[in-house]
């Protein structure tokens, strides 16, 4: 169970029950700051090794191992594993890369595929029993991904359109009355340089954060309200039911957010490759 500190009341357990007289331990932001297992020193850097970083390493190993194993058989008539790997690859290539960027999107399939499956499995950790912590609810992880995405499309844009033209083509979109550029140009520049990466990172972070908070609240309530009274049973059963429904809903959100994050990456890369409209 996640660490839920009860400020003030030391006599209350981490997960109290209604009968103990303690208040409902409504989860707050503290549930996202888990006790580290250990710290690792590399040079002057200090790495906090906790659940989040171990899960992140686990996700990397799972995704890498799955695709290495799935790409190994290379049979003309694929087995289940190979078929699954091919479908995953084709999903990223056909539904994201080719759909958004076009034919020259094929060379970004490895990048987009890595993002999609890394984010998706990281999110999935929020509902997998034993893990039950979405890595992307720690802002640093979405930010580290977004920084790479940002660097990628900035570099591509400046390389394909020229270092100045990349910015001016975004700031002065064609088909707009000249006077509007006074208003539009700064907004477009802000959009390209600041808004895009910030919103991309925060959208993913906030979704996973909120989902985890909701799930934790109803899970704790199911236990807190469990008592041999009508109200207790009804409240507990209702909370448990809500938890089950929310878990299903959360899994949908996890996939959707991974897809949106990847789709936006593809849109930004596509915009960098070809000047807007």
């Amino acid at each position: 169970m996640n660490v839920v500190k009860f400020s003030g009341d030391v006599s209350c357990p981490v997960t109290p029950h209604l009968n103990s007289g303690c208040g409902f331990p409504a989860p707050n932001a503290e549930i996202f700051f888990l006790e580290p297992y250990t710290t690792l020193h590399v040079g002057s850097m200090e790495f906090v090794i906790g659940k989040t970083s171990i899960l992140a390493a686990l996700v990397a190993i799972i995704v890498a191992t799955f695709f290495l194993a799935a790409s190994r058989p290379r049979k003309m008539v694929p087995g289940k594993l190979q078929s699954l790997g091919e479908q995953a690859y084709l999903f990223v290539r056909d539904q994201i890369a080719r759909e958004v960027i076009g034919k020259d999107g094929d060379r970004f399939v490895p990048f987009l595929g890595s993002i999609f499956f890394f984010v998706w499995i990281s999110n999935l950790m929020g509902v997998i029993p034993g893990a039950q912590f979405p890595i992307m609810s720690s802002l640093a992880f979405p930010v580290s991904l977004t920084l790479m995405v940002y660097a990628t499309y900035m570099f591509i844009g400046m390389k394909h359109q020229g270092p100045i033209k990349f910015f001016t083509s975004a700031m002065f979109p064609p088909g707009v009355p000249k006077a509007m550029y006074v208003l539009l140009a700064p907004l477009e520049l802000l959009q390209l340089v600041v808004t895009r990466p910030v919103t991309q990172a925060i959208r993913l972070f906030a979704n996973m954060f909120a989902g985890h908070l909701l799930l934790t609240t109803f899970t704790l309530a199911a236990y807190y309200l469990l008592s041999p009274s009508i109200i207790g049973v009804l409240g507990s059963v209702t909370s448990f039911g809500v938890t089950v429904v929310l878990t299903g809903f959360e899994m949908f959100i996890q996939g959707l957010q991974a897809f949106i994050f990847t789709l936006l990456t593809a849109v930004y890369i596509g915009g960098s490759l070809h000047a807007e409209h």
């Binding site: 906090v48 970083s53 992140a56 990397a60 695709f67």
Partner: protein, 177 residues
């Protein structure tokens, strides 16, 4: 009684610890390396190979179909040739048969003609033989009769015989009239 804990805690959900940024980047780098370097090129190659194999299979099937069609055409041509040849042979045989029948008929006719001729000649010979024998008998009878009438033998008389012959020839001339 529900003691809702306010966000009085000092945690900042928007903090960005450098170690987590590095761990996140490294974790992604592992995935990207594995996928970009090994997995995705292999999968892409496999998919291409499969597409090639399927297209190759289709091309092969088309080839064999064309081959089969060509062979069928060839067989048809051969069959038509054979039929023509058979018709020729039949026509030849018919002609030969007709010729054979014709020649056999001619031969038979010739043979029949020669048989008739021979028979006619034989009849003629027998008739003349019978005639001469009859003539001799008649002349002898006539002589005998005349000797009886005259009372002397005229049998060996050459003159008598000649007159009888003359008589018979006259008779014959009379008969021919």
């Amino acid at each position: 009684m529900f003691n809702i804990i306010a966000a009085e805690s000092e945690v900042n959900i928007l903090r960005l610890p450098l170690d987590e940024l590095i761990i996140g980047t490294l974790a992604f780098a592992i995935v990207f390396f594995a996928l970009a370097k090994f997995a995705f090129p292999a999968i892409s190659k496999t998919l291409e190979d499969r597409a090639d194999a399927i297209e190759g299979g289709l091309a092969r099937a088309e080839n064999s179909q064309a081959e089969a069609a060509a062979m069928l055409e060839q067989y048809r041509a051969q069959l038509a040739d054979a039929r023509g040849e058979a018709a020729n042979i039949r026509a030849e045989a018919q002609a030969e048969k007709t010729a054979m029948i014709e020649s056999a008929r001619g031969e038979a006719a010739a043979a029949a003609a020669s048989v008739t001729e021979r028979a006619q000649a034989q009849i003629e010979a027998e008739r003349s033989q019978a005639m001469s024998s009859l003539r001799r008998d008649v002349s002898e009878l006539a002589l005998t009769l005349a000797s009886k009438v005259v009372g002397e033998s005229l049998t060996d008389d050459a003159r008598a015989r000649a007159s009888v012959d003359r008589f018979i020839a006259d008779l014959e001339v009379e008969a021919a009239k």
